[in-house]
Each structure stands twice: as C-alpha cells, then as structure tokens.
Symmetry: C2
Subunit: 155 residues, 2 copies
C-alpha cells in the first residue's frame, strides 16, 4: 500500500466482527450494497457492480426527502476478499468524468479472528478532501461500517 | 472501445508500415521509448515503464534548450500488442496526482499487412483538451507516429 504523502487522504479503520469474504461480498453484491451502503436515514435505491479492473459501478443514493444522488465509477483494482479500489474519475473504462472527486481504497485483513477494515478516500485537491470531511466522512463512513458489520455477520 | 461523447477527446490515427508487436514494444520498452517518444528537436532523456494495470511510468522529456519536463503516470489497462491505456491522474497506484490532465488510449489493429494505429487523448475538462490541441497535439503526435513507424520498421 502506497502511503499518502499529499495530505489529501481521509482514512477510516475499524475492527469488524465478520470474516473478510462476507465483508467483500457486502461490498460487491448489488443486493447487499443496497442494505448497508448509505448511513440511515439515507438509502441506496439502486446498485450495479462489475468488480474487476475497468468494470463499472452505478449507485443511486437518496436522502430522507427522496432526492436522488446517482454515482458512476470504475473499479481500478480488485483482489477478492482483500482489496477494492474504485474511483469517480471515470464514468466507465476509460471515459474521464466531469469531476474527479476521489479514489476509494478498501482493504480487509485478518486480525485475531476479526477483520481489520480500512477505507481510504484519496482526493485530487485539498479542498475536496476538506469538503468531504465537512460532509461528514468520518461519521457517515463510520455508521456505514457498523451497518456493514451487522449485515456481514448475518450472512 | 467506448465512444467519446464529451467533446473532450483528441484523436490521431495513422496506417503504419510495421507490425503490431514491434509498435507495442516501442511503446513499452524504455530504451526504445527514448528513441521516438518526443517530436524532434525535443528529446526523451529518461524512461521507466511497468506496463500492467497499476504499473507506473516515469518519462522525462526535454525541450531544445534542455529544460526538463518530468511526467509520472499509471497504466490502467494493457493488452499485449493490442492496447495501452495510461493516465497522469495518478502518480502511482493509487495516488491521485496534483492535476489530472488526460488519459491516453493507444490501439494497434491489423489492417492489410500494416497496422492501424490510433492514439486517443481524453481530458477531464474542455479547456485542457483545447490547450492540448493548441500545444500542437496533432502535429506533435503525428510527427511522433512517423518516428515510431521508422523505429518499429528497423527492429
């Protein structure tokens, strides 16, 4: 894992009580994504995934008032049960998006019978990183990690 | 190949009198890159490549006065003798760069004993595409295509 030296990274890490393969499945199966991907009372209305290098993702989130937020992205690197790297810098392979906001790096590591879950968000600008933080990155991704853990445990 | 529908693409295509595998080698072998990659009287002082998904590239170009222009990038997709996709949006896997400028898509197709060579440059902004064009994209990449053809024929 390349260490960030730009100051444009946000990191969330949790020790989750669920095995790596089930967490990976929650991250890649569209039907499961809809059950944990947005911090309640937000919701995930729709999810499409193609978890391999160059594969597309399309996720539509909704706020409590029903306003929809569609997100297109591309997977850059996927190692089953270990690592998922994706970005909104492309809408599909390889079409630059209107606004590259961040690249997400998700890793799953065995840790004493549980899983060390780490989610990194690396941004192209410091302003975007700061905005992401103000939008509630730590609270939102933290709540999602709890939802993810609960779902993975139930599988 | 996804068709561009953003208006932010520049395309150069040529029928080159050299086989695909030699053109691919010229695009990926550092010692060969130094011989054709910049339109004379510019030069390529240094080249490092790792042509696979997530591999890094580092190329230093120089203008006729000796001013150096280092370029770091990452390969997004490489199909031997067929296709090379790279971008300056990352400096390495997966570190966003300070300025995503373009993604290059290079394809080599058999065409009547020659090779249809197509180089696409897809940008994140219309301004960057226009600047790239004003910097002499068509002339520069055209001259490089001639240098590439001459070198590949000589191998």
């Amino acid at each position: 894992m390349t260490v960030d030296n730009t100051g444009r990274e946000l990191v969330l890490t949790r020790l989750l009580d669920a095995p790596r393969d089930k967490l990976f499945k929650c991250w890649t199966d569209p039907e499961l994504i809809k059950q944990w991907f947005t911090p309640a009372p937000w919701s995930t209305l729709h999810a499409e995934t193609d978890p391999r290098t160059g594969g597309s993702s399309y996720i539509v989130m909704a706020d409590p008032d029903g306003n929809e937020y569609p997100n297109r992205g591309v997977y850059l690197e996927v190692v089953e049960n270990e690592k998922i790297v994706f970005t909104d810098a492309f809408t599909q392979a390889w079409q630059p998006s209107d606004k590259p906001f961040f690249t997400g790096i998700i890793t799953f590591e065995d840790d004493g019978g549980k899983t060390r879950y780490t989610a990194r968000a690396r941004h192209w600008t410091l302003e975007d990183k700061e905005n992401h933080e103000k939008m509630g990155f730590h609270e939102g991704w933290g709540k999602c990690a709890e939802q993810l853990e609960a779902l993975a445990k139930s599988l």
